[in-house]
């Protein structure tokens, strides 16, 4: 009797803790009892035999009442990770016994997202799953929704929505060749040659000594030769002048208003699984900016970011590794709600004087061309980087697909021609460094 009372007490506690019966409990209890009872009443042993397994298994299942409700906690992970990183996450399933199943939502190895629900043995209290972040962006990668089941799933607790674990996967840093940039006149330090005389390494000119020149700058060999030529020893000392070294400002202008892939039929639909299309124009632009920014920051340049769609998301030029981290985070923030701005904004105040500007856009409307041409008038150098996918595929579901593709490409060609006509160089993403190098050679 004491055991029955203990069972009843535990069963009542389980009910208070949120455990409830399922259809299977009703089926087992009433179906089993009904068949056995009907068999006894009607003198039909076959009914008893058919109903007996349901009744016995239900009684056996209910004989172990579950304890307190299940709590699932996941190990803390960093808020931001690199694309391509992976980690093993420990998940603790805490319960008071009597749990035969736990159904936990966990990511599948090698697949993005929070994953499907896994039906696991209730005895497994320490789980470990593998997370791999292949695609940059922001999102939820772990949300351990869970449900616990008693024996035969006759009693359940849950489902409970798990705590979301959000993470920012930073855009990858591909190693592009870093090209030289036009020197900034106001700078006196950095890795680029300035047209001004200074204390750099590159020789600039040899000229006669003037008041104010440092004595250590005198080139004695040249001075002696000059004296020998004029006949007076040390008559006209000459100094060897060097170029100053200057840092350069590079501002990337990201057109986050459009994100298009090669398939024209998918342009009007959102990308499933994330805000950015893999291999689309925004993905290409962000990867190019991250790679170029890393290369230029490494050589001491100042790099900034302008979001043409939302000017408030821009990053003023800065230097160093923290600036690179800031830029990569901001690139993810820019793409979070991409495509919601009707007109691009590129004001003179967003670009420091003397900076080089690189506009990355698929150039699908005239407004961005106008903005780029206007900005080219007040910047030292403006490059237009066309990130429209090279091969556009017509929508096969409409007879107008081919015509739409031809019109789009023709308009795109006209826009690029207009940019070139106004002196703006149009280059592909992989040609930015070479274009900057050409510009520098032209300046020499």
């Amino acid at each position: 009797m004491n055991r029955v009372l203990a069972w009843a007490t535990a069963r009542r506690a389980a009910g208070r803790a949120g455990w409830r019966g399922t259809d299977a409990l009703l089926r087992g209890a009433f179906g089993g009892l009904g068949l056995v009872g009907a068999g006894v009443a009607l003198h039909r042993v076959d009914l008893v035999v058919i109903g007996l397994p349901l009744l016995v298994s239900t009684v056996l299942a209910l004989s172990v009442p579950p304890g307190r409700p299940v709590r699932v906690t996941a190990q803390k992970l960093p808020r931001s990770v690199e694309a391509g990183d992976s980690a093993r996450v420990a998940i603790t399933v805490d319960h008071g016994g009597g749990v035969e199943f736990t159904a936990v939502r966990l990511p599948l190895p090698g697949r993005p997202g929070v994953g499907p629900v896994h039906l696991l043995p209730g005895a497994d209290r320490e789980l470990r799953t593998h997370l791999r972040w292949n695609t940059w962006g922001e999102g939820v990668d772990l949300r351990p929704d869970h449900l616990a089941g008693g024996r035969d799933g006759l009693l359940v607790s849950g489902p409970v929505v798990g705590v979301e674990s959000r993470r920012t996967v930073l855009p990858p840093l591909a190693p592009p060749p870093a090209g030289p940039l036009p020197a900034r006149l106001t700078g006196v330090v950095g890795a680029h040659r300035s047209p001004r005389p200074g204390d750099g390494a590159e020789p600039r000119a040899v000229r006669p000594f003037r008041p104010g020149d440092r004595v250590r700058r005198i080139d004695w060999r040249v001075s002696l030769r000059a004296g020998a030529a004029t006949g007076e020893a040390l008559g006209s000392p000459h100094v060897r002048e060097r170029h100053a070294e200057a840092d350069a400002d590079l501002v990337f202008a990201l057109d986050s208003r459009a994100d298009v892939g090669p398939d024209l039929g998918s342009w009007s639909t959102a990308e499933p699984g994330g805000p950015v299309r893999r291999g689309g124009s925004l993905d290409t632009a962000v990867r190019a900016i991250a790679a170029l920014a890393a290369a230029h920051l490494r050589q001491g340049d100042r790099v900034g970011l302008v979001d043409l769609g939302r000017p408030q998301l821009g990053v003023p030029p800065g230097v160093g590794r923290r600036q690179l981290l800031r830029l990569r985070h901001q690139l993810v923030a820019c793409t979070r709600s991409a495509g919601w701005s009707p007109r691009p904004v590129l004001r003179p105040g967003q670009v420091p004087a003397g900076a080089a500007v690189v506009v990355l856009s698929p150039f699908l409307d005239d407004a961005v061309v106008d903005a780029a041409i206007r900005a080219a008038g007040h910047t030292r150098l403006l490059l237009a980087v066309d990130v429209l996918p090279a091969e556009l595929v017509a929508d096969p579901e409409t007879p107008w697909g081919g015509a739409v593709r031809r019109v789009l490409l023709a308009e795109h060609r006209v826009r690029l021609a207009a940019l070139r006509a106004h002196g703006v160089a149009v280059v592909p993403p992989e040609g930015v460094a070479a274009a900057l190098a050409r510009h520098r050679r032209g300046r020499r």
Binding site: R16, G28, L42, D46, P116, L120, P121
Partner: protein, 166 residues
């Protein structure tokens, strides 16, 4: 620490329920049930596989038991004995399938304890069937019948009272 792998697709649970349900329907057909009853049983078996958290599995078992009782006199004939594990499989498969949403993954280790218990229950039931086969088939004394009915009613009341906390 258990590494959670990919497991197998949980679609195998509805498939198992459907197979067991198809076995029940085949058993009824074997016994010579009418086409209409077979259609009803088939529809219930399909519903039990597709919507396990519904009355369909219970109705399938009740229909199968009723038809089996009506179609034969020998209570321990093979058609009845086949229905014992099939009915249990429908019940257990539907119970587990009702726990999982679409696209879920199933880890076979989770099925170990319920399958072992189901095997034990089946072994016990067939042991009881063996004992029944040895007993005389004559009429049971009325006192014993009343006692059996009271016992069943007592079990029902006990389950209801103890399960009130739900």
């Amino acid at each position: 620490m258990t590494d959670v792998g990919a497991g197998i697709s949980a679609r195998w649970l509805p498939v198992a329920v459907a197979l067991a349900g198809a076995g029940v329907v085949a058993d009824l057909w074997w016994q010579g049930a009418a086409v209409g009853l077979l259609v009803v049983a088939g529809a219930l078996a399909a519903a039990a596989a597709l919507v396990p958290a519904s009355p369909a599995p219970l109705l399938l078992l009740l229909v199968a038991a009723a038809v089996t009782t009506a179609l034969g006199d020998d209570p321990l004939r093979p058609a009845v004995l086949v229905l014992v594990p099939l009915g249990h499989a429908v019940h257990l498969g539907a119970a587990l399938g009702a726990l999982l949403p679409r696209g879920a993954r199933l880890h076979p280790a989770a099925l170990g304890p319920p399958l072992r218990r189901a095997a034990a229950v089946q072994a016990g039931v067939f042991a009881a069937v063996g004992v029944l086969a040895l007993l005389p088939a004559g009429r049971t004394p009325p006192v014993l019948e009343v006692a059996a009915l009271l016992s069943v009613a007592g079990v029902a009341v006990l389950v209801l009272v103890l399960d009130r906390s739900r």
